[in-house]
Symmetry: C2
Subunit: 397 residues, 2 copies
């Protein structure tokens, strides 16, 4: 074999403190001697790097190893409580601000009703005030804040942190959300759309072994978050994952709010299902109404949700052929209606997708459920601020 060949110990070849930290992120405590052996670095270099990481709070001493005589050596490990993250999940009619540690564990969380149409200044002023309050209520210094992650209910250009033509967010188009918050709080601020952060939260906390995950939110609207090769895929302008306006075959006469006809969302979005039930004499207008009818055993509602699953499945069969995920996670309000939605989805995906792609494919309901957004907003910040480069910059500042 040539020395060009791949080796899993790549990180060991590096001498930066940021890379040493990546090694410690698995949480396993190691002595300085163990770190020197694993990385191939001189013990004096390891000692200096560990001192830097201890001073930053990102790494802590966690007990002692057995001694072979003399003073027992200390062990060091990633210290998830060393910094905190504020995670914000904004919906059309609600907002959640949560405090997490660097392991994405929620320490505290506040939820309130709000109207996204009040505009960015009103909503973000609340986010800023709530950030200060939640830090103070949990006795954390402002300097402990590693960053703020914000999820919004519309398309976002992730690199700039600005919403782009969001349909249900009047006043937000092009607004510098990241800049507005950063100006007041002076920490990194990362912004993305709600379905992307739900995908990230679901994957990071519930399915970390799946590098190719498709998260589908089925509620008033229909959207998807795509994780391929372990990374959230946002597309060229942050519009990836918009399944709601894919055409479904048997509904070409249905007009969608987007102006096209036959869109998935116009057929299986909560309001569309409710309207179909009203036509059959069953009173319903929201996703919640539909879910309650299903739970109460209403046959028309059960049939409608099962058919919605089949229609979503038609579009997901294409997604499976295209992306070859190992798991599809269904979240959003409609997914709380029990197994009926998933049964419809599975029926069509396993019939229509290629055997090679479905041989090991799982289709499951969201486990993170309501918390997915907040967990993903936190994870977005954690992945960014704990990267080798970010830690290296922090330590050399």
């Amino acid at each position: 074999m040539s020395s060009f060949a791949a080796s899993p110990a790549a990180v060991g070849g590096s001498s930066r403190a940021g890379d040493l930290f990546q090694l410690l992120r698995d949480g396993r405590p190691r002595t300085r001697a163990e770190l020197a052996i694993t990385t191939g670095l001189a013990r004096s270099t390891v000692a200096a790097r560990v001192d830097l990481l201890l001073a930053s709070g990102l790494v802590a001493a966690v007990g002692e190893a057995a001694s072979s005589g003399g003073r027992p050596p200390s062990r060091f490990a990633f210290n998830p409580g060393g910094r905190v993250v504020v995670a914000v999940d904004i919906g059309a009619t609600h907002g959640v601000v949560a405090l997490t540690d660097l392991a994405c564990t929620v320490i505290d969380s506040h939820r309130r009703e709000l109207d996204i149409a009040a505009g960015p200044r009103v909503v973000l002023d609340w986010v800023v005030a709530q950030t200060r309050e939640i830090l103070s209520a949990n006795s954390r210094a402002f300097g402990d804040l590693a960053g703020i992650g914000i999820g919004l209910p519309g398309p976002v250009e992730h690199t700039s942190g600005r919403p782009t033509s969001p349909p249900i967010m009047p006043g937000w188009d092009g607004f510098d959300v990241a800049g507005f918050v950063r100006e007041q709080l002076e920490v990194p601020v990362l912004v993305d759309n709600d379905v992307n952060i739900m995908a990230l939260g679901e994957q990071a906390t519930e399915w970390p072994e799946h590098d190719n995950l498709l998260f589908v939110k089925a509620s008033t609207g229909i959207g998807a978050g795509i994780i391929s090769s372990g990374r959230l895929q946002r597309g060229a302008v942050g519009a990836a994952g918009d399944l709601g306006h894919v055409r479904v075959p048997h509904a070409e006469e249905v007009v969608c709010r987007c102006g096209n006809t036959g869109c998935l969302e116009a057929v299986v979005g909560g309001p569309a299902i409710a309207a179909g039930l009203r036509d059959r004499g069953v009173p319903a207008s929201t996703v919640r109404d539909v879910v309650e009818l299903v739970r109460a055993g209403d046959p028309a509602a059960i049939a409608a949700v099962r058919q919605a699953g089949r229609d979503i499945g038609t579009v997901l069969a294409t997604c499976v052929n295209l992306l070859n995920p190992s798991i599809i996670v269904i979240g959003g309000g409609l997914a709380t209606a029990g197994e009926h939605l998933l049964a419809g989805i599975r029926e069509v995906v396993y019939q229509r997708s290629l055997p090679l792609s479905t041989a090991q494919l799982r289709i499951v309901a969201s486990r993170a459920t309501d918390a997915a957004g907040v967990l993903g907003a936190a994870m977005m910040v954690i992945q960014s601020v704990l990267s080798a480069d970010a830690v290296e910059r922090l330590l050399s500042a």
Copy 2:
């Protein structure tokens, strides 16, 4: 701003020779002093790293900078000719073996007819013999060979280098292609399917500014290669990009070779278009026949190809909503029939996809055409062996 904030100069924070090499890969010559300033490293460290890179052949001295008195300082740059790559593109009935440098420039290329059904040993023995021959014919030592990249006409599990249930490759299922070649030649061997490597070749050589590119091969079969966030996406088992068996709405009675009905490939694959033309009294049986009829101005053939474009467009509209690429490149035999195929595709994609996703979307014909496979096979090897980690391992070996 917190020191956690992102910085574009991340590579400058690193002190590995492999990282210094990444800086030089842009081809711009730099003096040791310039490298020290850009990276923030000590000049003695830079000098030692540059010596290692010079010895490896990956970097070369390329003339001198202006002197401010005394001996003028040398400039150093990436040396694409320092090593070579063998790139192999195997189709159902042909094989190409090419020699390239590390900048993906083709130095020499041999093509011959072969039958993939002869099985892996026969075909790969030819690849091994041809590799030795092309090195010798171009006066390159075997030690100059950085690796071999192989494209195959079927699904491949990229991590293991084995075909998985390939429909047109009898005898190849599960065969250890990478291992078989590596055993005889002892260099890194990377294997992928033909459409993935075409996507890679097209993107790397013609559209490097597009990090989100969808490559579609329209020929006897229909397939896609997906590049998202600058990386080829293979999916969980290497089956990503299989557009050929997505159902198209108006063709539910057409039976496909996969056993399902209404698959895109069964409607717009070359043989299907030819069969449609025969039904109308126009003699045609292959993709080449269809292309020649279009070029000769046959109205039925032109109409058939335009309609094939619309059908492909229906599926691509979904891909655009899902992946949000900035460019779709159409290759394969059918794409050589002039603008008719692309016109049909554009017609439907721009009608059916979301305005946000199509505002800056380009839909173009392949530029790399027949060379895309070989260029991609070379690029697959180059990306792997010139990564910071791989170069670091090479230098410290």
